[in-house]
């Protein structure tokens, strides 16, 4: 009995599906950003698993994970700034009412 790569991949898939569910169904705009962070973390977990099991000498997956973390930090800063701006503009954070560009 030892740890296999499949366990980590299944856990990452479950985390990814949870993030997709939250991304689609949540109506609070901040919760949408949190779901995006969940998605990025699931991808990071995948990269780590591949780096440890398939490429243990040249750990390139960890390098990619560091890049993903940097991109996620930039994304969350800009996303929260956009949410603040649109909250001042529309006075709500309900995703259903952000239909400025719809018609």
């Amino acid at each position: 009995m030892q740890l296999y790569l499949q366990y980590f991949l299944l856990l990452a898939a479950a985390l990814f599906c949870t993030g997709i569910y939250g991304l689609v169904t949540s109506r609070n705009a901040v919760r949408v950003l949190m779901s995006i962070e969940l998605l990025l973390n699931a991808v990071n977990l995948n990269l780590m698993g591949f780096s440890n099991y398939l490429d243990p000498s040249e750990i390139k997956g960890q390098v990619f994970a560091v890049f993903v973390i940097a991109i996620a930090a930039a994304e969350s800063a800009v996303g929260l700034a956009i949410i603040l701006a649109i909250y001042r503009n529309r006075d709500t954070i309900d995703m259903e009412q952000f239909n400025l560009l719809k018609w």
Binding site: M1, L3, L5, Q6, Y7, F8, L9, L10, L11, A13, A14, F16, C17, T18, G19, I20, Y21, G22, V24, T25, S26, R27, V30, R31, M34, S35, E37, L38, N44, L45, M48, G49, S51, Y53, L54, D55, P56, E58, I59, K60, Q62, V63, I69, A70, I71, A72, A73, A74, S76, A77, V78, L80, A81, I82, I83, L84, A85, Y87, D91, D94
Partner: protein, 199 residues
């Protein structure tokens, strides 16, 4: 990783349960502040899984960046837009939720069968590897260009976030003798409610 296999299994199960339950709480709980704190629990669980996967540097970076910066940023955003509004009930909400749940379970089934059916080319472990040394060598030799581009991207994101989140009141520009119609913005930033009451 020089832990015994039983310890590894037990810690994996505990960390996976923590991460999955906290992720479900992030998505399903009504109160947004609880979701933010549970998101921190998700990040800590994932960093524990990174340590199980022999990635100590990235685990430390995960805790520093996600728990220390992103989660605090999200909490600040929740406090800044703290408005308790009952969302207007929309029609057919349960149809949308159940359809999304079915689609997500389908994605999970697809990914799960792919993960189990694929014969992964597991490489033999070469013994303990100094991850910080390896990552540094990669950053400054073959991944130098993405590394520098990431720093430029972080700078651009910082400037963009400051410009987007700044509250600037655009003064009325009236040029005498010229029609100011094309210069006027159709929408300008709202004042805060407290300032509106005060004035």
């Amino acid at each position: 990783m020089n832990l015994s296999e039983g310890v590894q299994i037990v810690s994996f199960v505990v960390l996976a349960a923590l991460t999955l339950c906290a992720a479900l709480g992030v998505v399903l709980l009504e109160e947004i502040v609880y979701s933010a704190f549970l998101l921190g629990a998700v990040f800590i669980g994932i960093s524990g899984l990174f340590i199980l996967l022999n990635a100590d540097f990235v685990a430390a970076a995960q805790i520093l960046i996600y728990v220390g910066a992103v989660n605090v940023l999200i909490l600040f955003a929740i406090m800044l837009v703290n408005k308790r509004e009952p969302f207007a009930p929309s029609r057919n909400l349960w149809i949308r939720r159940s359809a999304t749940a079915v689609v997500c379970l389908g994605i999970f089934a697809l990914l799960g069968t792919m993960v189990i059916a694929t014969p992964w080319a597991i490489a033999p472990s070469p013994g303990p590897v100094d991850t910080v040394l390896k990552i540094g060598i990669h950053f400054f030799s073959d991944y130098l260009l993405p590394f520098e581009l990431a720093s430029v991207l972080l700078l651009m994101a910082m400037v963009g976030a400051i410009i987007l989140a700044r509250r600037d009141f655009i003064p009325e520009v009236t040029i005498p003798g010229a029609t100011s119609e094309p210069l006027a913005l159709p929408e300008r930033p709202r004042e805060l409610p407290s300032e509106r009451v005060g004035s």
